[in-house]
Amino acid sequence: MSNNDNFLKVKHLYNRAGFGISYPELHKLSKKNINKVVEGLFKKSEKDDLLSLVDPTEEKRQLLVQAGLYGKKELTDEQKNMRREIVRMQNEISRDLNIAWVGKMINTDAPLREKMTLFWHGHFACRSNNPMFSQQLNNIQRENGLGSFKTLLVEVSKSPAMLQYLNNQQNRKGKPNENFARELMELFTLGIGNYTEQDIKESARSFTGWMYDKDGSFIFRPNLHDNGTKNFFGKIGNFEGENIIDLILEKPKTAEFISRKVYKFFVNDVPNEDHVKELANHFYNSKYDIASLMNKMFTADWFYNPENVGTKIKSPAEFLIGLSRSFYVTYNKPQVLIQLQSSLGQYLFNPPNVAGWPGGQSWIDSSSLMLRMRIPSLVLNDGEIDFSGKADPEDEAVIALNRNSTTEANAKTKPKSYVNATANWSKFLDTLPNDLTPLALTTFLLQPKLNTKITSMVSDNKGLRSTAVEVTSMPEYQLC
């Protein structure tokens, strides 16, 4: 394969818009015009296979049981056990859901759609103890991730996960809870400085009565809704929740805020304000069509400028999924994926707060970087990991319960564990041309330009397999 511009462009596109690319596919696509390649990427992502790990019927049954136990002053031992058992099962299913999504990202043939889901997962950051709620929100982000931003925003706002997380269940006439209204504007649409405290107070009233029922479905409760006149953005009217969302979308600042966030996720941590403006205008004029925004960005010349190639720090999810995808890794004990996510600082479905993961250089400190450089040899060469990680605060209750009263050591000291993963080396090596040199493989695996040190480090290598392990352990592999 010749190292022409298209080879680099296609590789860049697939790293940013997906989770990397296989050698044969890169070879094939490099011969095409880049706009055609972008078109093909959208085509592949037209389908939206939803996550279906959590069985809603069973979850709804549990919700009803929980609702029945809730508020009871005295519980029988049997009821207490039942409640505990539900919590235990929900935690377990939540972990399975995490693993199912990671697996989906590793194996997907709709990479752009999954990458968009990951983007919206961080944008509409949310935590829920209920795996059905989490799965549903994740599917909303998947189904609408390349559609209308308005539809996406409305669906997210009505999802039980978000209603619960931002306390809209408690938002009622005469006793408004402003949490949702505040984050709607501060984090989801306009950004700080583009609305007033008055706007928050008034719009919170518009969202009163937006709730979910015992079944876990959205319900509008008119008797809890404040029908009065609201003064929002200087306009007087009897605004409902949907009207508020429309008024927010009327402001070009919303298009700008989303475009800047998209730019920082897909292009560069440091936004070029001219490029952001260009995207924002396009997004606004397209009436918030997300696919149109993404297409504009992926076909812009500047997207392929050297300052935007191989210069972004991979998120832990991008790093783990990219590595696993490239080498066809199977995790024999998939729970290790959760341990790795948490140790690297991005436990999916568990963002630090509603603002999501800050990203960029904040992913990297000495311990997370040392671990990242270690993971390829652990995953690809089946090494041992002596990393116990921190206890999740939400797991504290479980830790407290499981404590052994006599021989108590620190609960954080978990035993050493093996990653226990299998890379499919023969499949990987089969994708490569027979005469591929270690240096050419390095060029394929790394996004940053190779310097003389790396060139000389790999040039005396004999095998492709050892080259791959070595190269993926380099700091350069942390960039995409």
Partner: protein, 399 residues
């Protein structure tokens, strides 16, 4: 030796001295006189929301006994500190510490509009934010960012753990997490790792790749400094066997060997006691107190207690009234325990919690936790707290 050993064998130990890049030299050459003024802060995090009312017990208040019929501690078992408050009997090891004047208890520390989620409230305590504000840097991290004379290097703040808490992450500078200095030293001395940072000049730009290389070089330099400074020191003190005590033992080793670190961070988890609290919390408080007592005495015997300030916090306290499962649910304000050899106000700092004046069943806070941070930043770490916190907080006179 083959550099690829790193990639195969994670336990590989390399011989040879550590390469120190030229621009890192000044730190190793730091003047000795700076050492003598070294003041240490040790932050102890109790994760899960420790029930402060069963830790420092307001036994003189009848409401305590009325609201906690199943879990209250009998007056005769309590280690009385004054006629209102006393220590949980599992904290007997701290009685001697208290009597020595090495302990201060600050009651009812909290913040406005408290959040009852473990995650969110811990976030607030670690970042020092308001309850509706989202910060991506921690209060100690911002102290590192402040460019104070002594906070140029990652080892200025050390967390004895595998991963780094948000509290120690700043915008441009971050602390370092390590559980075992020797293991980190081995890893950074691995041939592969060393070959990556050898003669690394072209990458030390301000961009992301430069940041990665800078992090590697600093990690390597810090690992070597920490290992070489602390390896000779052997503590003569006996510590109880628990993970928590081990963390404190490592901190003591670092402090006593004269490491130029200013902030240490350790944690003990498991305090989310919704069910059958008395035994669970009792075991944890015992671990905590015995570990702390051993640690403080160790420091005293090394003449380091005067230079050390220890603070203990938890993300929230529990509700005043117990729940139906002989446990307690998430609450708000909580006490903080402060230790050190140079406390200005020893013993109980302020009035005991007012159990008769609650906010929907929860304690009202008397002091903002950022007043405590602010006091430490101003008076112990010698920076202006307004530069680290969102605004200037009034300081307290416990130090």
């Amino acid at each position: 030796m083959n550099r690829r050993n790193f990639l195969r064998n994670t336990g590989f130990v390399a011989a040879g001295s550590l390469f120190v890049p030229a621009f890192m030299k000044p730190l190793e050459a730091m003047a000795l006189d700076e050492l003598s003024l070294y003041k240490n802060l040790v932050v102890v995090q109790l994760s899960g929301g420790n029930d402060g009312l069963n830790t420092i017990i307001p036994y003189g208040n009848d409401i305590y006994y009325q609201k906690r019929k199943g879990i209250s501690i009998k007056p005769e078992e309590i280690i009385k500190l004054n006629d209102m408050q006393g220590l949980n009997p599992n904290m007997a090891a701290l009685k001697e510490i208290y009597d020595q004047g090495w302990m201060t208890i600050i009651n009812d520390v909290g913040y406005p509009n408290p959040d009852r989620s473990h995650f969110r409230s811990m976030d607030i305590w670690q970042t020092g934010s308001d309850s509706n504000q989202f910060l991506s840097t921690g209060w100690i991290g911002r102290y590192l960012d402040s460019n104070c004379q002594t906070c140029k290097f990652p080892y200025t703040a050390i967390e004895v753990d595998d991963s780094l808490s948000l509290a120690l992450k700043g915008q441009t500078k971050k602390g370092i997490a390590l559980k075992d200095p020797a293991a980190l030293f081995r890893n950074t001395n691995d041939p592969f790792f060393k070959s990556m940072i050898q003669n690394e000049k072209e990458h030390l730009d301000e961009d992301n790749l430069g940041y990665l290389y800078k992090t590697m070089i600093e990690t390597s330099s810090s690992a070597s400094y920490i290992q070489n400074t602390s390896k000779i020191y052997q503590s003569k003190s006996v510590y109880p066997t628990s993970g928590f005590s081990n963390q404190l033992k490592i901190v003591s080793k670092f402090i006593s060997s004269g490491l130029k670190t200013r902030v240490y961070y350790v944690s003990l988890s498991g305090f989310d006691t919704h069910v059958n609290q008395v035994n669970q919390q009792g075991n944890l408080l015992k671990q905590y107190s015995e570990g702390m007592a051993a640690f403080l005495k160790d420091l005293k015997s090394n003449n380091k207690l005067e230079d050390t300030l220890v603070i203990t916090f938890s993300e929230f306290g529990r509700r005043v009234e117990q729940n139906a499962s002989n446990g307690t649910d998430h609450g708000t304000a909580n006490n903080m325990m402060i230790f050190g050899g140079r406390l200005k106000k020893q013993g109980i700092f302020n009035a005991a919690p007012n159990l008769g004046d609650l906010d929907t069943g929860d304690l009202k806070y008397q002091l903002d936790f950022r007043q405590v941070y602010g006091t430490i930043l101003d008076k112990w770490l010698d920076v202006n707290n307004a530069d680290i916190l969102s605004k200037k907080f009034n300081t307290l006179d416990f130090i």
